[in-house]
Amino acid sequence: MREIFNYFKSIFFALKSLWTGMKVTGAYFFKPWKIVTQQYPENRKKLKMYERTKGELVMPHNDKNEHQCTACGICQINCPNGTIEVKSVTVETADGKKKKALNKYIYNLGMCTFCGLCVKTCPSDAIVFSNKFEHAVFNKEKLVKTLNKEGSTLKKGAE
């Protein structure tokens, strides 16, 4: 008798537990407003990334086309992956002193692991991360970027 009772009890509990689960999924089925999916290409205009999102490395320039990089090369040393290559030239300033100046700041996005050491260690805050995250390109070479703009110079007083 007891076994028969247990037999039916087990069926009852099994059905009950199944029903509990079905209630959860069934409830979501009738609540389409709970959908969390973001429609990506459509919501591109509205999409707001967090301020700190590490998209890619950029070198901000002001409106006079000046940057702050002194070509010291610290970021290059600190980068664990050899992503950054700072090419400098020696220029002669007006008062006849020889000085290093940035010629080309080459950043290979394909090799960057976004560890943030370059930004953290840069003594003159010349580089930051931008929020741009759409990096797909058809050619690997396109990932190698020159961060300083054409004809840009060092900001006055940033030495």
Binding site: T25, Y50, R52, P80
Partner: protein, 373 residues
Amino acid sequence: MAEEIIIPEADNQEISINMGPQHPSTHGVLRLVLSLKGEMVQKVEPHCGYIHRGIEKMTESMTYQQIIHLTDRLDYLSAHMNNAAVCLAVEKALDIEVPERVKVIRTIMDELARIASHQLWWCSFGMDLGGLTCFFYGLRDREKILDIFEETTGSRLIQSFYCPGGLMADLNPNFQKKVKDFIVYFRKILPEYDELLSGNIIMMERAKGIGKMSKEDAISYGMTGPSGRGSGFSCDVRKHHPYHAYDKVKFNEVLRTEGDTYSRYMVRIDEMRESMNIIEQLIDNIPAGDFAVKMKPIIKLPEGEYYQRVEAARGEFGVYIISKGEKNPYRMKFRSPNFCNLSALDTLTRGHKIADLVAIGGSLDYVIPDIDR
């Protein structure tokens, strides 16, 4: 009357099957060579190394700050804890006391990462059992934690947020509010996990009594983390060797003694609750102060050997450093929890069915990059 069943020679054959490296339920590029008798698993032979990147060797040519970003890539789901292990080892070697604020933030971050990791485990465990809906519910909730991470650390998965001496950046002003919102939200959602999967009769039938591991075996295999605690092996590093601010918070070490798949499952579910408790205790009283101590740009550890362990989401993660006084470590060894847990797979699954192998594998929750390094 019982007749003797004669099994012909052909029926007695074992067949061997390659499960992986590309298989839906090996969670990555793990290859398991199974010997099967019908559906019964006779032997499992894990073959690792498909995602071996030589991280331990790579560390030997890197400074300690640079090493941090590699540890993220071991167990990418407990990136914070792995970072913490290296940072703590370096700080211990240099005898640096990090500010109280750093300790508390690190604790909160670690616990958030633990919840996120367990959520993802729940997703994939549900999927291993064939309940695909779990996968989306878990990911939906994990997204909230990743958003919190992104706002403060700038990345979602591989944050590299800790550095020797402190943190890379201070907390985002929204952090506290968001974490509190999340806790409120997740406390409401977690019972749904139970209704959907934990209490489900099919799940209980498939998990209870499957893949039994005694406490002794768990210890001798070095199973740690939730997998070990499911067998009653009290191995929580947070309790036994507190680091960060764990000595200041009250929490229970979740222990279960059955040692089967279900107990490993329940340990993780309960751990999410414990983690929320820990965060709740800390989130309102993060002390003010610096987010890092000033370190020399080039860190040189004094000559010697250092070991530091932390409780990662999957078990005890250890870092062993041999330094010769250079700026790079002479040798660095990671004790990864997944590698040890995986080694028990053969014992756990022997004599069970393929479906059980998948469930047991899911309950061990291995992350392949951590196994292969």
